[in-house]
């Protein structure tokens, strides 16, 4: 899995952010103003569709940065 491609997929999934405006260190819960439960769901949907794997919703909620989510998804593929 490629981290930069993951960030770009993350941006597309949640919508409403400019392409390239997020990076691996973005603390998405606090830095994305309208972050809500539907955004959480959108990220799970993206991981399922793009990487054919799933991560637990409670683990995603506990993640701080996009890179944390990437690591969870990456590990779940192993």
């Amino acid at each position: 899995m490629d981290l930069h491609k993951f960030v770009s997929n993350f941006e597309s999934a949640i919508g409403g952010v400019k392409p390239g405006s997020l990076n691996p260190k973005t603390a998405f819960h606090s830095e994305i103003e309208y972050w809500d439960s539907l955004a959480t769901l959108s990220v799970l949907a993206m991981i399922d569709m793009e990487y054919n794997t799933s991560i637990r919703a409670d683990e995603l909620i506990e993640c701080n940065t996009i890179e944390d989510v990437f690591n969870l998804a990456n590990n779940s593929q192993d």
Binding site: S37, T40, A45, S54, A57
Partner: protein, 335 residues
């Protein structure tokens, strides 16, 4: 063998529009979320209205539309998780109110979004076993009574409704290829914790608690839904259940004319549809005007699909319900 003779449904009078939700929650982008979940209106009961009232209206409408008399019903199945009372059984009260003979069997069963499928299976089995000829299957929910007024997420999604379906003895085997599934490990992800016997402390039920997923406060005694966990559950079980039904019938996705799934919300269903490669024109949606009505979404959608879609005799429709429990199930209908 059995077939569905007709389906009618009833929505309560009070409508909640997206504009009304926006007024109630000005800090929230209701329109954006409602667009994503595909819901414009939902209807909710007033304080005095219960599941049996919705069920009565739906059944009366069905009797009128099919021009049949309540005397012909020999079994009544009511699917509800919001019964009028702990006891007596709501189906027994409905037997009397609808004028169904005292010789009829009647029972409630407690399932949510999978309930219509299980009801069809029970009706089909009762008829095949020679125990009944005309089964009235009703799904009726008033989830609005479970939802905290501050819970904007669930208030956007859920609506109240009842649907009535007549399943009769027939020369043809219209309902087939049932597949079931149950996984109680997901029980905590969609739950009303108070009101039953496990937690009888009414005072505690009124205390506030925070939902970590949505960041919203709600009273402990109200409905809790971990939407993201439930999404994970659906992406796991729905595609595999579709495959199992197809395998059982010896068919492929191309052989199915229409897919009528539980109308959870449009976002989840679109994801599942794309994941399974089901063409858009074969995937039926009906939730814009009434939201997620739990066990009534499939019969309501099926009622409209049978009218709107130009289906031919012999065409196959796949029905699939999934949700609270976790419980899921699906089957095929031959038009």
């Amino acid at each position: 063998m059995s077939e569905i003779k007709g389906i009618s449904y009833y929505l309560p009078k009070e409508i909640i529009t997206n504009d009304q939700l926006s007024e109630l929650f000005p800090e929230w982008s209701v329109q954006k979320i409602a667009d994503k979940v595909g819901i414009k209106n939902r209807y909710i009961v007033d304080n005095d209205q219960c599941a049996s009232d919705l069920a009565f209206e739906a059944a009366t409408k069905l009797f009128d539309e099919l021009n049949i008399k309540p005397e012909s019903i020999d079994f009544l199945l009511l699917c509800t998780q919001s019964p009028d009372y702990f006891l007596p059984t709501t189906a027994c009260l409905l037997q009397n109110r609808l004028g169904i003979p005292t010789t009829a069997g009647a029972l409630d069963f407690n399932l949510g979004c999978s309930g219509f499928i299980y009801g069809l299976s029970l009706a089909n089995s009762l008829i095949k076993a020679g125990e009944a000829k005309n089964v009235l299957l009703i799904t009726a929910e008033t989830y609005s009574k479970f939802i905290d007024a501050r819970d904007k997420g669930n208030r956007t999604i859920f609506g109240d409704a009842a649907a009535a379906c007549l399943v009769t003895k027939s020369d043809r085997d219209q309902i087939s290829s049932f597949v079931y599934g149950t996984d109680g490990t997901g029980g905590q992800n969609l739950i009303v914790k108070y009101g039953g016997m496990r937690n009888r402390n009414a005072v505690e039920a009124d205390e506030d608690c925070l939902d970590e997923e949505s960041g919203l406060l709600h009273r402990k005694g109200t409905l809790e839904m971990k939407g993201a966990e439930i999404f994970n559950f659906t992406i796991k079980v729905v595609p595999s259940t579709v495959s199992k039904i197809l395998d059982k019938a010896g068919l492929t996705i191309d052989d199915i004319s229409l897919f009528v799934f539980h109308q959870a919300n449009r976002y989840i269903l679109e994801h599942l549809r794309k994941k399974m490669g089901i063409p858009e024109e074969k995937f039926y949606y009906f939730m814009e005007d009434c939201g997620n009505t739990v066990s009534s979404t499939i019969p309501i959608a099926l009622h409209h699909a049978l009218k709107e879609k130009n289906l031919n005799s012999g065409d196959k429709i796949m029905l699939l319900g999934f949700g609270v429990g976790y419980s899921w199930g699906g089957c095929l209908l031959t038009v």
